[in-house]
């Protein structure tokens, strides 16, 4: 990618971040709450897209990493009374290590087998949450006590029951994730990853370690998903087995495909549309998950590039 194109992408990301920051001053209460959730889910989807969009690996088990972050942070707070920043850092680390282990095994498979293997590992994760109910409280889950709803950062304390505080923390996480990905993808290592996606055989022949490149991205992806899960658990104070379920593996896929796999901002766009749509539909019908099925099929049949992927193809070829 040319330097000019990179600069354009950087400006675009900064502009989007500026808009997101100012939204907190105009949105009504409930939308602030929704936007907070959306930004965290967008971080999750960004992590997913790092894998699907830039190395071409479709995981059906990313709920595993989201739930790992959620539980690693929440349980250390709940059982051991850790401070929130320490718990968060620990959770991101734990998710990265888990991703390293799972990736080292799962990346030995390709294509369909990779999808099924990741699906199976996530299923084991969901069952683990239920099996160790003595710690996780199973299906019922745990609510973090009021005393744990305050983050002590040394210089300042943050009250997580405050909606705008939560918004800005989620915003900060999203901004950090976008910038990390931007820099990573712009770097030499990032270009190896996309080379793997575009032609694995040729990349290998050129002397690059394809497995290492894949594993590196898998770990980054897992850590990012874990960070999203950790923030979700700590900000909203609830840990439950629902977060480890199959649906949480499908949602980032849906967000990414809709927004455009392999576009930096695609997952964010996908989340904005899908989460908003699901929330509105749930007021009209109990069968609102129908929309997940319909959107998936429509996308895969007629719109495989997603929103930003199409925008890139037609109008803005420089989009990352």
């Amino acid at each position: 990618m040319s330097r000019a194109a990179f600069a354009r992408n950087a400006w675009l990301v900064l502009a989007v971040l500026a808009v997101l920051f100012s939204l907190q001053f105009v949105l009504p209460d409930y939308q602030v709450l929704m936007a907070t959730r959306m930004m965290l889910l967008a971080v999750f989807a960004l992590g997913f897209n790092a894998l699907l969009g830039y190395v071409g690996l479709l995981s059906l088990g990313h709920a595993l990493f989201f739930a790992c972050g959620l539980y690693a942070s929440g349980l250390t707070v709940y059982h051991f009374g850790w401070g929130l920043p320490a718990a968060f850092v620990f959770a991101v680390g734990a998710s990265a290590v888990l991703a390293l282990l799972i990736g080292a095994v799962a990346l030995r498979t390709i294509r369909v087998s990779f999808m099924i293997v990741t699906l199976m590992f996530a299923q084991v994760g969901a069952l683990t949450v239920l099996y160790f109910a003595a710690w996780t409280n199973g299906q019922e889950g745990l609510s973090l006590p009021a005393s744990a709803r305050v983050a002590d950062l040394g210089v300042a304390t943050l009250d997580l029951t405050d909606a705008l505080t939560r918004y800005n923390i989620a915003y900060g996480l999203l901004a950090a994730s976008l910038l990390i990905l931007l820099v990573y993808l712009g770097s030499a290592r990032g270009r190896i990853a996309t080379a793997v996606r575009d032609n694995e055989g040729r990349t290998e022949m050129l002397g690059f370690n394809v497995f290492a490149a894949k594993l590196e991205m898998f770990v980054l992806s897992g850590a990012m998903s874990g960070a999203a899960g950790a923030a979700y658990g700590l900000l909203f104070g609830y840990l439950g087995a629902t977060f480890a379920s199959f649906q949480y593996s499908i949602e980032p896929l849906l967000f990414t495909l809709l927004g455009g796999a392999g576009t930096l901002l695609g997952p964010l766009v996908g989340v904005l549309f899908m989460v908003g749509l699901i929330d509105k539909l749930s007021e009209l019908t109990t069968a609102y998950l129908l929309v997940i099925g319909v959107v998936l099929i429509v996308l895969i049949l007629w719109f495989p590039k997603g929103i930003l992927g199409t925008v890139r193809e037609r109008w803005l070829p420089w989009l990352m």
């Binding site: 799962a106 030995r108 294509r111 087998s113 099924i116 293997v117 084991v124 129908l290 998936l296 099929i297």
Partner: protein, 293 residues
Amino acid sequence: MGFGPYLLLATLEGLVQAAVLSITAAGLSLVFGVMRVVNVAHGEFVMLGAVIAWFTASLLTGHPAMGFAAALLVSPLLVGAVAFASERVVLRRLDYNPEATIVATIGLLYILQQTVLLVYGPDARPVDPPFYYTIRFPWFGYSAYKLFVIGAAIVIMGGIWFVLQKTRAGLVMRAAQYDRETAQAFGIPVDRVSAWVFALGAMLAAIAGVLVVPIQQAHYLMGADPLLLSFIVVIIGGLGSMSGTVLAAVLVGLSDGIISMMFSPTLAKMVSTLLVALVLVFRPNGLLGKAAR
């Protein structure tokens, strides 16, 4: 209760599970074998079969066996039709690209499940078994219908074997499985065979659904477990290998029955799922499968 009777009950429960599982997994295996696609919506066909069985049985008054027999006929036909249509409308257009097909069948999963929720509602509803009789062992009673399910599974699996090995249709399917291009060159309409195979796989799932509904009741979320277990069975048995599938179904059903009873059902599922993930990684063709083409 002593260990002997305990083991007997565990074995019976395991066999019933193996019976239902082998029919379900046979459908999944057939679709994978011939079409080389993984159908994530397979569990929903089991659910759809059970739900249609409820509708059929509740429309017919008279002896429960009438309703059950009708369901055994109507349910697979309707489910097969749904599958046929989705194959034509969706999967064919994707040219059976494996990844795209998985995503599409996930979509199909949600569409089927949520449509049933809309039409049938969120309740679990029972279908009467064709007959009601309890076999008395000295230590416990056991529903005779469950033993009937085991028998029915043996008959159906025999039927599948016969169709695949002894009929022209089976020959065509095996040819398509063995080598798509060559089969095409020999004038086999592989494209149309795919649609029929997809429908047939779904019909097997529907039959499993009908057989299980007098034991379990029909519920819109009942598809998840059969899907997971069939995956396990098909992968352990070797993707696309029918005899491997049956063997794995018996193995998984029995071990699940016994581990669940001795330890915990959650642990049983965890162990078999993890095992399967590892089989896929280290023995990609399954324990019994031949090398993939």
